[in-house]
């Protein structure tokens, strides 16, 4: 059955895979952002010994190999590992965790750059208006929101494309932890290359649609706020 047929007939198996892919990647980006944006803001606005080293490490982690991250989380979450009692190996939660780990450095590094650039612009005015530190951070994050959304999209791109880490911690279990990318890997290994290519095109299409939506949101927002 070609991928196109699956799409047109609304095949529930395909739908479940797409749904899980989006759920896992979007959740991962969300959690990564909750951690990464404040971290980026913190690094942008503060100065302390070791700050530069921390920034270098964070930038380097953007290139963390997914399989390495997958292996690390696998060992953590395995029943015989330190967090084994959580019992979440081979579940979507584990996939969200490992993807959040991969995506957080990207979001933090890009946030830091964006917020630092904006801080240079806003610094005098915010100081002149006597804005307190917490409000400063909130204002910078809010005013930089469109650039931050681009950072989130970069993170989402990495998450949606990723397969090595989630196959290790998720186990590619049918109907449970199988996503678009792991399904593509599976169909490839079953030799059904046309289906694998088709699924790949569906995945690309979805990612393009999400980027288009974000772009549209950004344009609408810019018209309002300039």
């Amino acid at each position: 059955m070609s991928a196109l047929q699956l799409v047109l007939t609304g095949d529930p198996g395909l739908f479940a895979i797409v749904r899980l892919s989006l759920l896992v990647s979007l959740s991962a980006v969300l959690f990564a952002a909750l951690f990464g944006v404040p971290l980026g803001a913190f690094l942008a606005l503060t100065r302390f010994p070791g700050r530069e080293a921390l920034i270098v490490i964070m930038n380097a982690l953007m290139g963390l190999p997914p399989v390495v991250a997958g292996l690390a989380i696998f060992l953590l979450l395995s029943r015989s590992g330190p967090l084994g009692s959580w019992g979440i190996l081979f579940t979507p939660q584990a996939m969200v965790i490992v993807q959040a780990l991969l995506v957080a450095p990207i979001i933090a590094a890009l946030s830091r750059q964006t917020i630092e650039d904006l801080w240079v612009e806003y610094r005098d005015e915010l100081a002149a208006m006597d804005v307190g530190p917490a409000q400063r951070v909130a204002t910078l994050i809010w005013d930089a929101r469109f650039s931050l959304v681009t950072a989130l999209l970069a993170g989402f791109g990495r998450a949606a494309a990723e397969v090595g880490a989630i196959i290790i911690v998720g186990g590619n279990i049918e109907g449970f932890t199988r996503t678009m990318t792991t399904a593509i890997a599976l169909e490839t290994s079953k030799g059904d290359l046309p289906l694998a290519v088709g699924l790949g095109l569906v995945l690309i299409l979805i990612v393009v649609v999400i980027n288009a939506l974000a772009w549209g949101m950004r344009r609408a927002g810019e018209r309002y706020a300039g």
Binding site: L30, S80, L89, T188, K190, L193
Partner: protein, 280 residues
């Protein structure tokens, strides 16, 4: 501005609910079975598991890895049941106290796959050890799973024991160990006109055969036995021993065995049930 932030926060919480919900509902009646890529890639589980679920309501989550990796998953307590095809490795597993008891379930056979051009000239040979020797002599390209899977273990046994070749020492550039599953090995062999040892089930259901075909089959040494074991709950408290045992019992029951025999691709049977053969 506060309103928008609240909305964003709410959206975040809402987004995380489905992830949590999935976990709660799915863990109700389910087991994790670590098995081999051959049982997955051949489509056998896709056929059997819905039957089992209909009968017992138990969700079987299959993590497909090579035999070695599948047994390690059992050793770590990350699976409830292991279902693999390397008797020596399984017996070692039992001896370590990691499993409760081994039950033979089914068998199929390995087949030696190669290109139509057959550079080593082994087509139709009945002795697989001799075929391996000819491949080495002609230095014809050969793909090895290289991943401690049941197929890999069987392949090594043919080299080392039956053909008398110390493959680790005597291999050359013609021998490519890829460290991946059966499907990946078949893909690689098809793309590089190489020989590869495969289980018949995966081969029959493989969709990228190209001009590869079965060149050697039927040798007794190509017999491939599958066994199932419950991971020892004494060693790992979290093992769902009742549900796991139900799965094992079903596999070796007349009903399960019949289902296994009924799985066919293009009218050809892939696996032969033999739970009643105590020596298997």
């Amino acid at each position: 501005m506060i309103n928008r932030r609240t909305v964003m926060l709410a959206a975040a919480l809402v987004a995380s609910i489905p992830i949590l919900a999935t976990s709660v509902s799915a863990q109700d009646k389910s087991i994790v079975v670590s098995s081999t890529t051959s049982t997955q890639d051949s489509g056998l589980f896709g056929y059997l598991l819905p039957l089992f679920k209909e009968k017992t309501g138990i969700d079987v989550k299959v993590v497909a890895q090579g035999t070695g990796q599948a047994l390690d998953t059992g050793r770590r307590g990350d699976a409830d049941v292991v279902f693999v095809h390397a008797k020596s490795a399984e017996e070692k597993f039992l001896a370590e106290g990691e499993g409760v008891r081994r039950f033979p379930v089914m068998y199929n056979d390995f087949v030696l796959i190669g290109p139509k051009s057959d550079p080593a000239g082994i087509n139709g040979m009945k002795d697989v050890a001799k075929a391996f020797q000819m491949i080495k002599e002609k230095q014809a390209p050969f793909i090895s799973r290289g991943d401690r899977s049941g197929t890999h273990i069987a392949e090594l046994a043919i080299w080392n024991k039956d053909a008398g070749i110390d493959i680790e020492r005597d291999k050359g550039a013609w021998y490519k160990s890829i460290g991946q599953g059966m499907g990946a090995a078949l893909n690689t062999a098809a793309a590089s006109d190489a020989y590869v040892l495969s289980d018949r089930g995966t081969w029959l259901s493989f969709k990228n055969k190209g001009d590869q075909q079965i060149l050697v089959e039927g040798d007794k040494r190509l017999f491939n036995q599958y066994g199932v074991m419950l991971v020892n709950p004494a060693k790992h408290q979290n093992v769902k021993k009742d549900l796991g045992q139900q799965f094992i019992d079903w596999l070796i029951s007349p009903e399960g065995q019949k289902a296994i025999a009924n799985y066919k691709i293009n009218g050809e049977q892939l696996f032969y049930p033999n739970a009643d053969d105590k020596s298997a």
